[in-house]
Amino acid sequence: MILYIWFVLGFFIAFVIVHTAVLLFAAVELRRYALRSNASNMRRTLRSPLAPLISVLVPAFNEASGIADTVRSLLALDYPELEVVVINDGSTDGTIEHLAEVFELHQVLRPTPPFLSHRPVRAVYAPRSQLRLLVIDKENGGKADSLNVGINFASYPLICTIDADSILEQDALAKAAAPFAEDPVRTVATGGMVRLANGCRVERGRVMDAHLPRSRFAMFQVVEYIRAFFGTRTGWSAMGALLIVSGAFGLFRRDIVIAAGGYRTDTVGEDAELVIRLHRTCLEAGRPYRIVYVADPVCWTEGPEEAKFLRRQRRRWHRGCLEVLIAHRRMLFNPRYRAVGLLALPSLLVFEVLGPLIELSGYAMCVVALLAGTINWSIFFLFLALALLYGLVLTLGSIALEDAASGRFPAWDDLGRVLLFALAENVGYRQLMHLWRLEGFWQLIRKGEWGAMERKGLSDPVPSPAASQVKRG
């Protein structure tokens, strides 16, 4: 019993050490970005004929209420040359009809390119005006399937994948495309920051005023997002081991994605799975590449505020996490895959997958040991204190980086609120999230889907509400 408690202790300490290292990488990278980035330079590059062309792919399922606003705000983005491709995933609420009315769409003949396979396309529509918009109607098949359609039809070399209710800031695309302009040959994918729009004033599909959410669950998620984006993702990206580019906002080289086979439709973690597969394909082919996380560009999204939906989301994320690890288990601890295989994937396995199990069982073991008399009260409380504190280093470090890099909370009480929730997170919320993730684990085992990655199956036909894949640590 004592041995097990030592083991959990070791886990906590390892967590702090590994993530402090990740934070340090993140800090260096953010500083480098601040020194290199030059607003006027970027503007000039984007005005030049050398600016990369982007096709924005918007998979939409039953989005009739917001889709027109989303498309309009995308067309109005501050980017020189882009096209918007909406893929209607067999909606039943009149999404296509609404779009056809708003943008005066008429049907066009457009044979389906053969690069990636997917559910059949029913029709293709384009507006009568010169707007660079393409709307594709297809049979329901899920988000990954829809994205594959979009990739097939996209005309430009870069594709931007977003969720139908993502709200991109005006300069988000420009900032996310900057690494491609800097290094067109090597850069394969980039991702930007996702922020929670809960509590913000959103009108006409744009975020007017940014505020912190009132809801407690949402506030905890704000803390999680800061930690994920300013802490872990920036850090891993700096090591060349970024495992995920959020499905809510990612930019990819179309040809490379096609060469890698497009999105897999039999996993809920399709965004992470693609990125890891991109790493794998490039490393196996010996092709110099980089997958970069840029902390500057911002995409807004709604996070679940009710426990029911949050639970569903976390279970799904965890299942996705596991599926991805199973699918790419060959890369684990394999030096051929460098930082991804040796550092990032093992870290994912240990801290993300096993972490909840270890921590929760640690509490349980402590209680048992206490009751059995093996440990005394002081050790028990010290252990609890450690459990409370160990996540704080990463969280506070990420908040510090966020503040330094963007200074987005101008008010003291906003900062106070974030810090309060950062502390409170460790006394219940995090443990609850761990429990829900384990439920996801259990769901996966129960469904017997261990072999799911081996055979091609149909994905859940109801795509989840906008959910960026955010990894905690």
Partner: protein, 340 residues
Amino acid sequence: MKAVLEAAVTLLTVLVAVLMAVIIAIRIGIRRRYRLERRYRPGAELGIAEYLAGLPRVPEAGGRSERAVLLAVALEALGDLRGSERERLAELIDRLGYTAEAMAGLRARRRARRRQSAAILAAVASASATHALTAALDDTDPIVRTACARTLAEVGGADAATAAIIAVAKRDIRAVPGAVAAVVLALGIAQPSALAPLIGADAPPEVRSIAIEVAGRLRLSEHAKLLRACLREQDEIAAGAASGLGMIGDVRSVDALMDLAGDDRRALPARAAAVAALGSIGAAPAVPLLESLLGADWPLMAAAVRALCRLGDPGTAALRSAAASSRPEASAMAEAALEP
């Protein structure tokens, strides 16, 4: 165990406390900067706006922060303006000593300061800085080198600098490819003939690709012969050259392009680019060749269909017969292309 736990908890508590302090310190720093900006900015904006509107009063700035804010405001406006107001603003920046400061900054020890100075000189684009910029082409930092090279190319320096600019382009292509692309573009706009050595065979292939693309986008027909020679080279270069020739519209390259398009030993992207070029040029004699490609791989077929659309009546006739044919893919594509 207790000892270890105590040590760990103490350490973490200390770390947490330190981080909290750091966060607060950062926040205080940001607020201070914010307050400084808010104090000086309105004055700077008003001063510059009035000066540009014709008022004789020259905006002044006292301490270092005030000067920094004034410069930042001026540079922002510089990016958005053109014409006589821009001239006036650039001259104001000169007169206030910022250009001289930036020129001196190019020789600073700290790399960040040199980069910043290069950025300022790039925005101002003043011909008086030519000397300092040319000297900075030998800087140890590729970002500084390429920024100065670009500015020199844009400002239109003496031919003496051209060779040095070309050298920087060749040297830094692997380190900062995007910046070098900007340099090559600037060179192509200011001194088109200078692109020749960058297209030629002894430049690194990455630079050649960029130079070829620039020559095409800028429609520099003086380089058509060079591009035509590149059609025989390795596939990425050939593809770029084909695109370029299409954008230039070089009729004399039609034969070479047809050879490339029809050669099934060459890679698809190069052939597709050649096909697209034939369409852009409007080469009617290519119609039979394009027709024969209507059974090939999708990218090639798609390019052929698009090209046929641009080749007038013979092209349309070919598309019509393809649409009527029994080959499903070609027929579907041709039909789609013929749609009004």
